[in-house]
Each structure stands twice: as structure tokens, then as C-alpha cells.
């Protein structure tokens, strides 16, 4: 980071300013969806399927409707009258809102009860009688893709199998040739299991349709309010919902992590109910509904191979992957990328050949493919490359750090064109790993490991040197349902020199109200404390694609800087007028223009702002405001090197993370305190699937892990004290050199932990351990190897 340009009073870039949003949260005055009560509001609860695959023979609503306070029961038949029983997913697949013929996964929405209180709505769903006829269930994606598997999506007329897509990237022939010529080849199968973001706030909404003026307002847990508005207009346009009459308000969100990007059936049913009844309808999921029906991530079955020379030079990589999407492809990937940005899988290494093929497949599980704090399948890609790198090191008996150093893309080669087509903007991978090794005393740890091993103790050291890919657009390649992935900012400077800045993104805890204000402060010299940041209301904020995939700083943050620079250009003309000089004679220092060679003659931004409304030059429009829609020229490529030290209990198989040192490089930093917080949280959500979290299904498609009893979110006891440091390699194309950071640690951490566990067991012949590395799974390995106590 360059020197600070602003004082703490202004708090531009680089200041660890305390968060502007915190005063309301620490007082319990946040405003989350379930905190909102509207006059006459009704409550909705949802009947869900006990079967993973079944015909619906009948739905009897009579008893439910007899309960005092139950006003309506909505079924698929109700919605079918308006052709609203199906909706598009963000990947242009289709998904049921409510079923008419059959259910496709356990906990699928079957009917909705609208009542005067949430308790009566719950009574109502107990009284709805549904008769099912169970159908054969497919939970295993390897069975689902077989040619003779029963076709699940019988709603699709021409569908003859369960395949969603087949996607290939890279040169297959050239890669195969490199493998044929290789001195060493290693192979590994790995599964990245199905997991759930489990933000502490579940999903929900209040749909409020005003029959008098035809306006629909939806208070909603969404990370992408504008995109949602457009989807609603497209889905319900034929019943009269026009986009100018739809207002989406995303209030404070209790975490998102990707789980609040999709449109879930509950939102649509609540909207339909409010339109039909003419009153506000609130729907809030409980935790079981949230864990059993929404926002699943991952579920990639990977086979990967690496070719290399005997000296450790990597020459080629190839992989074949089966992606289990559940019954609908509801991922939120850019439309041209069915497996997201998985082709970042050559990682930090200067690989000359690579080839990937990925098949997406339907099963009787809830719609999957949503992110888990990960930008479009990058976690799967990083797991694969960082794991196979360690498998190669083990095969060659090389130190995994030395193998990485040998194969890193050298920093002189940036911008670097990867063999799978990405142009990495900037990087210094060796620098990050070197710093991590020094900070954790890698050499000392290896010595300690030898001593421990001699005593029969199981200690392991694992490395992950990941490369992220975030900040989508550019719009040339990136869109969601055809909407280009730019983002936006509108800034208005008030006459007294204060500002309001509105953005097309939506914070879920990342601290945008603070960091965006700091961007404006840096560019205009207006104190960040005097810049009011607003997001999440589609009636006021400029159009943007929302917050996910670590894209806010790279896109909307950039838009903030560009809008501020437009304002500065106009301010310069006003200052020239006030100082009676040519604009060319002025120089900008933070917060003021002064005359070249006469610094005492100057005008502050506050003076200029006042003049913009009280004394502006003739021929110039009054006011001082600007809007920017920023379309990034490229993605950004944050990176880092993580080193994890584990001790394994030979009695229980429990893995304890003794130390974890994270060196991250996200380019120039807006607020170091917030970046550290993002890394801490990201590391925790990287540790979680590595050690604890997994959602599995039995043969009948019954979900196992559908409540916090079974789905183990890490507590303060399992989570170690994360240690962090940073290197700073600015992005050359971003307006202020930033790259984005929210997901780096979730992406980078899991293979460091797996590599540490395998390292602890490598002398026993262990080459790979699947995640989550639960005590049971590890203990079974210890038992097999004869070292369990």
C-alpha cells in the first residue's frame, strides 16, 4: 500500500475506520426482514414433501380452511391458473414454484397456507392433507448419468436423459500428448461434498401489493435486488406486474454468502398471495426449511491427473468432473459458464497444457450449484489443483513448498495468459509463499515434525497457494439471464459539502457503508463520516447486479471512484470560475483545488459544492452529482499462500488446527481492519467444509443434516485464532488497484487443511483424505494403518 493520502479525519483508502453501520447493530437496531411489521400483515407457512420423488395424487385443503384465521391455501393448481407454477432459474433452467403433478426432492414446497398469525399458519400446514404415490429415487449422480437411468425431468418434452450440460475447456489432444510423453503421472479422485451457507438469518420476505396503485413492494433477503426486480417483471409480466411498479427493498441482511442470490419458490408464492388477497404477506423460513430446501453448494465429483518431469516441472493437467445439481440447475453462474469459473483450475502454476470436462446431472435433491462464499466454482478448482500438487510432491518425494516455488508463474510474466484462456492481471506468488513460510517458521516446523514423528505423534503441515478469479464482468463475456455484469454508483454532493452515494450492490455484512464512503473520501476529500451510503432499494439505487463472487469492490467500488472523478472534473471548472483562472492552472490535492504556484489561492470541495448550488458559472448546469456504470476491462485475480499446522489425536481421530497462517494479496486495500475481518470469516468458512460440514442423503433421498443438530457449523471452540499478513500487488486495470477479498480465504483454506492432514499421515502411505475430515473418517484411516490408540 502506498502512503496514506488522507488524514484519519477524512479516512480515505488505507484507514482502519470503525464501521459506520455498527452503531445500529450493537444496539439491536438493525432492520432485518423479519423485524418489519406492516399494518394488516398476514403470515405464510409452507407444506413440504416428505418424499424425494412422488406423484401428487390429491391435496385436500378443507380442514385447513376451517381453522379460524386461515384465509387461503395456495397450491400448484392455484398458480397454474395464472401460469405461475413454474419459473426460470438464474441458469435459464426451469424450477417449480408449486407442483401440479409430482415432487422432485424431499422438503419441496407443495402448498402454502396464508393466515393471520404465524402460529395459525403453522396449524394450517398441519391440516393440509396430501396424498402421494412414491416414485423411484435417484440420489447418486453416477447412476443418474447412466444411459438406462429413468428420466427425472419428464416435464421437458424432448428430454431423454438426466444430463444438464457437457462442457469442455482446453485442448484435449495436446494435453493427451503431453501425458503420453510425461515422465511422471499422478491421479486422484476427490469429492467436494454438498454444503450449505447457513447464514444465521434464514431467507424470507414480505410481499406487499397495493391494489389501488398496482404497486408491488417486496422486502426481501436478496443480494441482488435489481436482478430480482427484472426477473419478477419477466415472470409475472403477463399477469400485469410491470417493472416500474415493482420495488424490491433488501434491508439489513444477516449474512448471505451466495445463498440469498437465487429466487426461491417461497418468495414467488408470497407475492402471488399478496396479489390475490391484497394484503402484505410475510414468509420467513425456519432453519430446517433453510437447510433442507435452499441454496446448496458444491457437490463435484472430480477425477484429476497431473503430468510432470522427474525434476518436478509440471507439464499438463486434465480432469473429468461430475456435477450433481439436484433436480434443477439453479446455479447463479454467468450464463456462458455452466461450470462457472472452474477453468481457473491451473491455479498459480505455469502449466503448458490442460483440459477439463464437466458433466452436469439431475438427481432427486434440492436445486444445487449455488455458491458458498465462492465465486462460481473456484473453490472446487482450487481444491483440485492444490491437492494434486501435493500428491505430485509426495510421489516425487519433494517438499511441497519447493515444488510450488518451482512451478509458480513468475511475477515478470504478468499479465499472464493461462492455457485455459484467462488473463491474470498481476501476481507475486513466490513472494506470498515466502512470507508465509517466514512468518510461521516453516523450516522449524518441519524439524519439529520429524521429532514428533519419531515419538509416534501425528503432526502435519499443509500449504495452499491459491489464485482467485473475481470481479465479474467484463460484460462482453459475463451476464446473468442476459443482464450484463457491470455495476453502478450514483453520487450527489449536497450544498454543504456532504454526500450521498448509492450503489447497485448490497452488503450482507461486508461493511459497504464504510468502505464505499472511504472510496468517495479518497477521491473527493469529503470525510467518509459525511458520505451516506445506500444500497438495496431498487426505487432509489442505480441498476446493478448485486453482491456476490467478491465483485463489489472490483465493480461497484470502481464505479464509485469513476463517479467521484466525474464530479471532480466538474468541480475543477467551478473552482476555476471562482478563482478566475483556467482549469489547466489548477492542481488537485485531497479535498481542494489550488492554483499552480500559488497554493494559498484554493477552493475546498465544500466551497465548490456550495457554489454549485449558489454561484455556478453561467452556461453550466447547477448541481454536483454523477453516475457511473462501470464495466471492468478484465476480472481481478487475488491470491495468497496459506500454511496450516495440524495435530491428529490417535485416540479419537480428531484433527486440531494448531496454527494457520494466511498471507493474502487483494491488491490495494480500502480498510485493513475490514479486510482482516473478511479473511477471518473466510478462513472459518473454509475450515467448516474441510472438517465438519456436509449434507448427505440416504438411498430414499432423505436429507441427513437438515438441522443444526446434524449440520455442524463451527463454534468458537473448533475455530482457531487465525493469523494473517499481506502482500500488496495492485490490479493494473482497476481504478484504484483493488481486487476484492470476500471469498479468497474460503477458496484457499480447505486444501491447506487437507494437505496438512495428509502430510501428518503420509509416512503411513496415506495419499489423500476426503472432506469433511471428521474424527470418524480420520480414525478409520488410523485404524487401517494400525496407529489408532
Amino acid at each position: 500500500m502506498a502512503e496514506l493520502k488522507t488524514t484519519a479525519a477524512v479516512s480515505g483508502m488505507g484507514h482502519s475506520m470503525k464501521r459506520k453501520e455498527d452503531p445500529r447493530f450493537i444496539r439491536g437496531k438493525g432492520n432485518y426482514v423479519d423485524d418489519i411489521q406492516l399494518p394488516g400483515m398476514l403470515y405464510m407457512d409452507i407444506v413440504r414433501s416428505p418424499y424425494a420423488h412422488a406423484k401428487i395424487k390429491s391435496i385436500n385443503t378443507e380442514k385447513a380452511l376451517k381453522i379460524p384465521g386461515v384465509l387461503a391455501v395456495i397450491t400448484g393448481e392455484t398458480l397454474a391458473k395464472y401460469n405461475l407454477h413454474w419459473m426460470p432459474t438464474l441458469m435459464s433452467d426451469t424450477q417449480m414454484v408449486l407442483p401440479v403433478e409430482k415432487v422432485m426432492y424431499q422438503a419441496q414446497e407443495v402448498a402454502a397456507v396464508i393466515a393471520t398469525s404465524r402460529y395459525i399458519a403453522a396449524d394450517g400446514i398441519e391440516a393440509v392433507e396430501v396424498e402421494y404415490e412414491p416414485l423411484p429415487v435417484i440420489v447418486d449422480p453416477f447412476k443418474s448419468i447412466l444411459p438406462d437411468a429413468p428420466v427425472l425431468r419428464t416435464d421437458k418434452k424432448d428430454k431423454k436423459d438426466n444430463r444438464i450440460f457437457h462442457w469442455e475447456v482446453g485442448d484435449r489432444a495436446a494435453t493427451d500428448k503431453a501425458f503420453n510423453e510425461a515422465e511422471v503421472v499422478v491421479k486422484q479422485d476427490m469429492h467436494i461434498p454438498r454444503i450449505h451457507v447457513a447464514s444465521i438469518e434464514t431467507c424470507g420476505c414480505i410481499a406487499d401489493f397495493d391494489r389501488v396503485n398496482g404497486k408491488l413492494t417486496v422486502y426481501m433477503t436478496t443480494q441482488a435486488p435489481h436482478a430480482i426486480r427484472t426477473v419478477f417483471a419477466l415472470v409475472a409480466g403477463h399477469v400485469g406486474l410491470s417493472e416500474e411498479k415493482i420495488r424490491i427493498i433488501s434491508p439489513d441482511l444477516g449474512g448471505g454468502f451466495g445463498g440469498k442470490v437465487p429466487v426461491y419458490p417461497g418468495y414467488v408464492i408470497a407475492v402471488a398471495a399478496s396479489v390475490v388477497i391484497g394484503k402484505p404477506v410475510k414468509w420467513i423460513e425456519d432453519r430446517m426449511e433453510n437447510l433442507q430446501a435452499d441454496s446448496f453448494a458444491r457437490d463435484y465429483h472430480i477425477h484429476v491427473e497431473m503430468a510432470a518431469k522427474k525434476d518436478g516441472t509440471m507439464t499438463a493437467m486434465r480432469c473429468k468432473t461430475l456435477a450433481d445439481h439436484g433436480y434443477a440447475d439453479a446455479a447463479a453462474n454467468p450464463s456462458k459458464f455452466p461450470a462457472g469459473l472452474f477453468s481457473i483450475c491451473t491455479g498459480s502454476y505455469d502449466l503448458k497444457q490442460a483440459f477439463c470436462e464437466i458433466d452436469g446431472v439431475y438427481t432427486n435433491k434440492p436445486p444445487g450449484g449455488v455458491a458458498y462464499r465462492c465465486s462460481f466454482r473456484v473453490t472446487e478448482a482450487v481444491h483440485m489443483i492444490e491437492r494434486i500438487t501435493d500428491v505430485l510432491a509426495q510421489e516425487l518425494k519433494m517438499d511441497p513448498a519447493a515444488l510450488r516455488m518451482k512451478n509458480f508463474i513468475p511475477k515478470e510474466k504478468f499479465p499472464y495468459k493461462s492455457v485455459l484462456g484467462w488473463e491474470y492481471d498481476s501476481g507475486d506468488y513466490a513472494g506470498a509463499l515466502k512470507l508465509a513460510m517466514e512468518r510461521i517458521d516453516y523450516v522449524g516446523l518441519r524439524k519439529e515434525q520429524l521429532e514428533k514423528r519419531a515419538k509416534g505423534e501425528l503432526m502435519g503441515i499443509g500449504i495452499s497457494s491459491f489464485t482467485e478469479i473475481v470481479g465479474a464482468g467484463p460484460s462482453k463475456h459475463f451476464d446473468i439471464l442476459g443482464i450484463k455484469m457491470f455495476d453502478s454508483c450514483e453520487i450527489r454532493i449536497h450544498p454543504t459539502g456532504k454526500a450521498i452515494a448509492r450503489f447497485g450492490t448490497k452488503s450482507q455484512g461486508q461493511g459497504h457503508e464504510t468502505t464505499y464512503a472511504q472510496i468517495v473520501a479518497e477521491e473527493l476529500g469529503i470525510p467518509a463520516s459525511a458520505v451516506q451510503v445506500e444500497e438495496g432499494d431498487t426505487d432509489t439505487a442505480p441498476y446493478g447486479l448485486g453482491t456476490y463472487a467478491s465483485r463489489s469492490t472490483p465493480t461497484a467500488g470502481a464505479a464509485g471512484a469513476m463517479a467521484a472523478r466525474k464530479i471532480r472534473e466538474k468541480a475543477k471548472k467551478i473552482a476555476a470560475y471562482l478563482l478566475e483562472v483556467s482549469p489547466d492552472d489548477l492542481v488537485w490535492e485531497v479535498g481542494k483545488f489550488s492554483v499552480k504556484g500559488a497554493p494559498q489561492r484554493s477552493k475546498t470541495i465544500a466551497e465548490i459544492a456550495f457554489a454549485a448550488y449558489t454561484n455556478h458559472p453561467q452556461g453550466m448546469e447547477a448541481g454536483l452529482e454523477a453516475v457511473s456504470y462501470y464495466d471492468p476491462p478484465n476480472l481481478t485475480f487475488p491470491f495468497g499462500s496459506y500454511i496450516c499446522v495440524v495435530d491428529i489425536d490417535r485416540g479419537t481421530g480428531a484433527v486440531k488446527i494448531r496454527r494457520f497462517f494466511a498471507v493474502d494479496d487483494c491488491g490495494n486495500i480500502i480498510n485493513p481492519m475490514i479486510v482482516d475481518g473478511q479473511i477471518h470469516g473466510g478462513l472459518s468458512m473454509g475450515m467448516a467444509p474441510a472438517l465438519m460440514e456436509e449434507i448427505t442423503y440416504d438411498e430414499s433421498g432423505n436429507v441427513q443434516g437438515g438441522s443444526f443438530m446434524d449440520y455442524l457449523v463451527p463454534t468458537s471452540m473448533e475455530t482457531p485464532s487465525w493469523e494473517t499478513d499481506k502482500t500488496v500487488t495492485p490490479s493494473p486495470h482497476h481504478p484504484f488497484g483493488a481486487k476484492g477479498v470476500g471469498e479468497s480465504a474460503t477458496v484457499g483454506a480447505p486444501p491447506a487443511i487437507v494437505n496438512a492432514v495428509v502430510d501428518a499421515l503420509s509416512h503411513l502411505g496415506v495419499k489423500h483424505v476426503e472432506i469433511p475430515m471428521t474424527p470418524e473418517r480420520v480414525w478409520r484411516i488410523l485404524k487401517e494403518k494400525g496407529v489408532a490408540l
Binding site: D22, F25, G255, R287, G509, G681
Partner: protein, 156 residues
């Protein structure tokens, strides 16, 4: 459904309410009294977002019935600030970046408030044990621990 008239003192203020037997305490607070700082995150006593103090003890208000609170003293996050001055824990969480989305924060504050009442100088392990029934998905707990340590120092 049988109805009951109950009296509870919340943040020093006495309230009377007529409630169904099955009404959860968290709903009494959030919907009847409109104290929405206490949150609901799981319904099964795992996440701790609904933690309040009942006669000074931290309890999870999503698994207590409102009628069980009859005659008791309750403190919610809204009761921490006194005379316009933030509680040391509120200040600590703000100073040390002990929160991100803010959803678990009220429960974290109430649990740690009870901890500091019974242990003025908790060790890191004691802090981690005390908050182990409160889930946070954003912070990785590192800065929450620092925030509680900072509050303990401020109060010393």
C-alpha cells in the same frame, strides 16, 4: 387455546400481556413488545441469536414459553446502553470489529454480558467456552474474543 395474563419486566420496564400458552418468549419480545434486537436463527437452541438474560442468566428465548417468564426480570440488547452511554461490550464490539452482518451480535453481547458479570477477567479459553453456544458465520470469532477482552479491560 388457553390464554394467560403474564407480567414481565423487560429492561426495567414492567409489561402485562395476555398470551396463548404456546407463545414463545422470543415472539413476545419481538412481536408483542416490538423489541426486535433479539433475533431468531434456528428454532432449536443451537445458534444463540435469541439469547437474552432472564434474572441475569443467559437463556435462549426461542425455546422458552412466554408464560415461563411470568414474574421474571428480562434484559435484552436494547437494555445494555445506559443513559446514552454504550455498555463496555457494545463499545468493544465496535472498536474491535467484532461484528459483520450483525445478526448474531445481540445474542453474543448478552452471553458475554453474563460472562463478565461472573468472571471479570476471563481467559481466551473461558471466553471461547462461554460463547460456544452462539454461532457466528461472519467473523471467525477472532475479533469477538478480542472485543470481549477489550470490554473486560475497560471495566477493570
Amino acid at each position: 387455546m388457553a390464554m394467560h395474563t403474564i407480567k414481565v419486566t423487560v429492561n426495567g420496564e414492567e409489561h402485562q400481556a395476555t398470551v396463548e400458552s404456546r407463545l414463545l418468549l422470543v415472539h413476545l419480545l419481538r412481536e408483542n413488545l416490538r423489541l426486535t434486537g433479539t433475533h431468531i436463527g434456528c428454532d432449536t437452541t443451537h445458534c444463540g441469536a435469541c439469547t437474552i438474560l432472564l434474572d441475569g442468566q443467559p437463556v435462549k428465548s426461542c425455546t422458552i414459553l412466554a408464560v415461563q417468564a411470568d414474574g421474571h426480570q428480562l434484559t435484552t440488547v436494547e437494555g445494555l446502553e445506559k443513559d446514552g452511554k454504550l455498555h463496555a461490550l457494545q463499545q468493544g464490539f465496535w472498536d474491535k470489529h467484532g461484528l459483520q452482518c450483525g445478526f448474531c451480535t445481540p445474542g453474543m453481547l448478552m452471553t458475554s454480558c453474563a460472562l463478565l458479570e461472573r468472571n471479570k477477567k476471563p481467559t481466551e479459553l473461558e471466553i471461547r467456552e462461554a460463547i460456544s453456544g452462539n454461532l457466528c458465520r461472519c467473523t471467525g470469532y477472532v475479533n469477538i474474543v478480542k472485543a470481549i477482552q477489550s470490554a473486560a479491560e475497560q471495566q477493570a
